[in-house]
Amino acid sequence: MIEIIGHRKIYFIGFLALVAVGLYYYGFMHLKPQVVKVERSLKVSKSEFSQIKANMDNLVIGLQQFDTQKEEFNKLRAYGFFDAQDRLDLMLRFREMQKESGLLLAKFDISPAKVEDNPLAKDAGFQVLTTNIKFNLEAIEDVDVYKFLYLFNYGFPAQVFITDIKMSRDIGITRTLIQRLGSGSPVAIVKAEVMVTIKTMIEDPLQKKTDEEMVN
C-alpha cells in the first residue's frame, strides 16, 4: 500500500495531518480560551468605565442637588444618625424614657455593637454600627408600653428598628389587685418583651476625619 501511494505522499499526508492537529490545538486550546479571557477583561473594563462615568454624572447631579441633600443630611445628624452609641449615654436615656412613659420597670440588655460591612460607608471613611437591645418592660397600663415605644421610635438618637414585640396582660382584675392599686402600691399588670436594633454611622478610626471636614 505504501509503495503504491508512495513514500513522499505518505510523508506529505503525515505532515498535513500534523499541521492540522497543530492548528486545531492552537485554535481551540490556546486562542479560544484567550478570546474568552480577553472578552471577560474587556467586559470588566467597560463596566468599570460605566460605573466611574455614572459616579461622575452623579457628582454633577449631586452638586446641582446639593442644597436639598445637605438639608436631608442635616436632618440625619439631628436625628442622631452619627451618634457614637456611648453606652452610658444610652442607659441614661433609657431611664429618662422609662420615667417619661410611666413604666414600672424597664430592664435592658445591650449587646456589643457590631460593625456592618458596608462599602458605601467605607467609601466615605465611615462605619455602620449596629446594636441589638432587649427590653423587659412592666406597666400598669398597656398605653405606658406604647409611650415607651413611641419615645424610642421618634426620640432616640439613632435609626431605630423595633424587630419584635411580645406584650401580655397576665393578671386578671381582682378585688385584691384593686385594693393594692388603691393603697398606692404599683402592680405590674402588663408585661412586654421588646427587641430593638439601633443603627448609626461613626467615623472609621482608620480613616479619621475631623468634624470640620464634614458638610458645613
Binding site: I13, L63, F73, N153, R169, M201, V215
Partner: protein, 516 residues
C-alpha cells in the same frame, strides 16, 4: 501502448513532446519509463491509451430500468459478453432517432490482461505519479475525428454522416477510425510500410487499406447518399501520390499532423516527420479534461483506489488546514481587536477615575464632602425599608378594640413571606419573597357573654382594622366560638359540690402588612 512497444508523450499547454519509444522486449522498460515520468514529466498525471490490435467491441442494447438496476444489468451483460477479458468497460451511446426504443444502446469494449499492460502499470506505480486512467485510443479518438470533420466541413451545406480517419502510428500500423454521426462505428489497425522513401508504395498501401475499410462499411449500413469524409494524415510530399491512389467516393482531406492539430487548436510541436498520427492523438486527448470510456480492472483499481484515497485525504487535510487557519486567524484577529479596545477602555477608565478623584478632592477642599452626604443618605434610606413601624398598627388596634374589650396578648414580629400581586390577581403569589410585619392579638370574652355576641364583636374589630389599615391584611385566625379541638378555652374549675365551670372565650386576630 502499441503492439510493438510503448510511446511516451508529454503534453503541455502549448506543446507536445515525444519523449521516447520503449519496445516491450526491453528488459528495463519499467525503470526507464518510471525515470522518464519522474525526471522529464515531474510526476505529472499519466493517461494510458491502448492502441493494440487486440481490442474487442460489441454493441448491446440494455432494457430500460432504474439507475441501479441498469448498472447491474450492464455489468452482468458485460461479464457475459467478455468472460475471458478482465479489462473492460461500457459506453452509453446516443439512441438513434427513429430506431427501436425498447432499450439503451451500449458499446461494450474489452482488452486482455497482457504482459505489456502489467509493465506499464508497474512503471507508473514505481514513478509515484497519479494515474488519470486507462483508455482505448479508438474510442477516445472518435471525438478528435468529430472535431476535425466539423472544422473541415464548416462551409459545407450537407454534412456527411460517415468519416474515415486514417493515420500511421510510430509503431508502424495504420489506425483507421470510422465514425457515424460522431460516434465510433468501426476501427482497424493494419500493418503497412513504415517509410516514405517510396511514396507510391506507401500511398498504394494506405489506399488499399481504405478500400478494405469501405468494403466493411457496407455491412454497417453505409449508403453512398449518407456522405463520407476521408481524413488521412500524411507528409506534404505524399499528398499528391495519395490523392491519386485513393478512389473513394467522398471528400478526401490529406493533412499533416501539424495541420490537423492547428485545426483543432492543438499543437504537436516540432516533429521530424508530420505523417504520424499518434502525436496528434496525444496532443488532443492529453488536454481533454474528461474522457469517455475509462477501463476497469482489479489490477488498475489496486493502484488507482489507494492513490485516489490518498489524494482525497490530501484534499481533505488541505481544506481542513484552510478552515482551521481561517478560524485561528479569526480568533487571533478577535484577540487583537479586543486587546485594542481593552487598552482604550482602560485608558479611558483611568483618565475618568483621575478626573473624578480630582473633582472630589476639589469639592472636599471647598467643604463639600459629597461622598459622605450621598452615601449616608443612601445607607439611611436603604435601611428604612427594614423598619417595622409597629406604632401605627398599635394605634389602629387600640382604636378598633375600644375600651370594653379585654386585650390579653399582643405580639409583633417580621417574617419572610411570598410577595403577592395586586388585588385583581386574587392574591396570586409572584414567587418573590418580601418582609412582612405580623401582628397577632389575643382577645378574651367572659363566659357570661353569649358566643354569638362575642363573634360579632370580633368581626367588628377585624372590619375596623381593615378600614384603618388598608394596606394590611386583617383576619380572624381563632374565633371565640370555636369549641372544637382546635379552639382555645380558658377557665377555672372549682370543687365538685358547687359543680360550676367558668370559661372565657379567646379569639385571635392576625394582621399582616408588607414592609416598605
Amino acid at each position: 501502448m502499441g503492439d510493438e512497444g510503448l510511446q511516451v508523450f508529454l503534453v503541455k499547454t502549448n506543446n507536445t513532446h515525444q519523449l521516447g519509444f520503449f519496445p516491450w522486449a526491453a528488459e528495463d522498460l519499467e525503470a526507464s519509463v518510471s525515470e522518464l515520468i519522474v525526471k522529464k514529466c515531474r510526476r505529472a498525471p499519466v493517461v494510458v491509451f491502448n492502441d493494440m490490435v487486440e481490442q474487442h467491441y460489441r454493441k448491446e442494447t440494455i432494457p430500460k430500468a432504474s439507475y441501479f438496476d441498469s448498472v447491474n444489468i450492464m455489468k452482468r451483460r458485460l461479464n457475459v459478453a467478455f468472460p475471458n477479458y478482465k479489462i473492460r468497460a461500457a459506453l452509453k451511446l446516443k439512441t438513434v432517432s427513429g430506431g427501436k426504443k425498447d432499450g439503451i444502446p451500449y458499446l461494450f469494449a474489452a482488452i486482455p490482461m497482457s504482459n505489456s499492460f502489467n509493465k506499464v502499470l508497474k512503471a507508473v506505480t514505481i514513478s509515484g505519479a497519479p494515474i488519470a486512467g486507462f483508455y482505448l485510443l479508438p474510442v477516445e479518438a472518435a471525438a478528435l475525428v468529430k472535431d476535425l470533420t466539423a472544422k473541415l466541413n464548416r462551409n459545407k451545406k450537407h454534412k456527411s454522416t460517415w468519416t474515415i480517419f486514417a493515420g500511421q502510428h510510430h509503431n508502424g500500423g495504420l489506425r483507421q477510425i470510422v465514425t457515424r454521426n460522431g460516434e465510433l462505428a468501426l476501427t482497424r489497425l493494419s500493418p503497412i510500410v513504415d517509410t516514405d522513401v517510396q511514396p507510391d508504395l506507401w500511398a498504394k498501401e494506405v489506399a488499399s487499406e481504405l478500400d478494405s475499410t469501405m468494403s466493411y462499411l457496407a455491412r454497417f449500413g453505409y449508403k453512398a447518399t449518407d456522405g463520407l469524409d476521408v481524413i488521412v494524415i500524411a507528409n506534404d510530399s505524399l499528398k499528391d501520390s495519395l490523392q491519386a491512389s485513393v478512389e473513394i467516393e467522398g471528400d478526401v482531406s490529406i493533412l499533416t499532423s501539424y495541420e490537423a492539430a492547428r485545426l483543432i487548436n492543438s499543437n504537436v510541436g516540432v516533429q521530424e516527420d508530420y505523417r504520424y498520427a499518434d502525436v496528434l492523438h496525444a496532443a488532443y486527448l492529453g488536454k481533454k479534461k474528461i474522457l469517455k470510456l475509462p477501463l476497469e480492472a482489479t489490477a488498475i483499481n489496486e493502484v488507482v483506489q489507494p492513490r485516489r484515497i490518498a489524494s482525497y485525504a490530501v484534499m481533505g487535510l488541505a481544506l481542513g488546514i484552510l478552515g482551521l487557519s481561517y478560524m485561528a486567524f479569526h480568533y487571533w484577529q478577535q484577540i487583537a481587536d479586543m486587546k485594542d479596545q481593552l487598552l482604550v477602555s482602560t485608558q479611558k477608565t483611568q483618565a475618568m477615575t483621575q478626573e473624578y478623584n480630582l473633582e472630589l478632592e476639589k469639592k472636599k477642599a471647598l467643604g463639600f464632602d459629597l461622598k459622605l452626604v450621598n452615601n449616608s443618605i443612601e445607607i439611611y434610606n436603604k435601611a428604612e425599608k427594614d423598619r417595622m413601624e409597629p406604632l401605627s398598627v398599635i394605634k389602629a388596634i387600640d382604636q378598633a378594640i375600644g375600651g370594653e374589650t379585654h386585650l390579653d396578648k399582643l405580639s409583633f414580629n417580621i417574617i419572610q413571606a411570598p410577595k403577592k400581586t395586586d388585588d385583581y390577581s386574587y392574591g396570586y403569589s409572584t414567587g418573590e419573597m418580601e418582609n412582612q410585619l405580623v401582628a397577632v392579638l389575643s382577645i378574651s370574652y367572659p363566659s357570661t357573654d353569649s358566643p354569638d355576641e362575642s363573634v360579632r364583636k370580633v368581626n367588628d374589630i377585624v372590619e375596623k382594622l381593615k378600614i384603618s389599615l388598608p394596606d394590611a391584611e386583617s383576619k380572624v385566625v381563632k374565633q371565640v366560638a370555636d369549641l372544637s379541638y382546635t379552639g382555645n378555652v380558658t377557665g377555672e374549675s372549682r370543687d365538685a359540690s358547687r359543680a360550676t365551670v367558668q370559661e372565657d372565650y379567646v379569639a385571635e386576630i392576625e394582621i399582616r402588612r408588607p414592609m416598605k
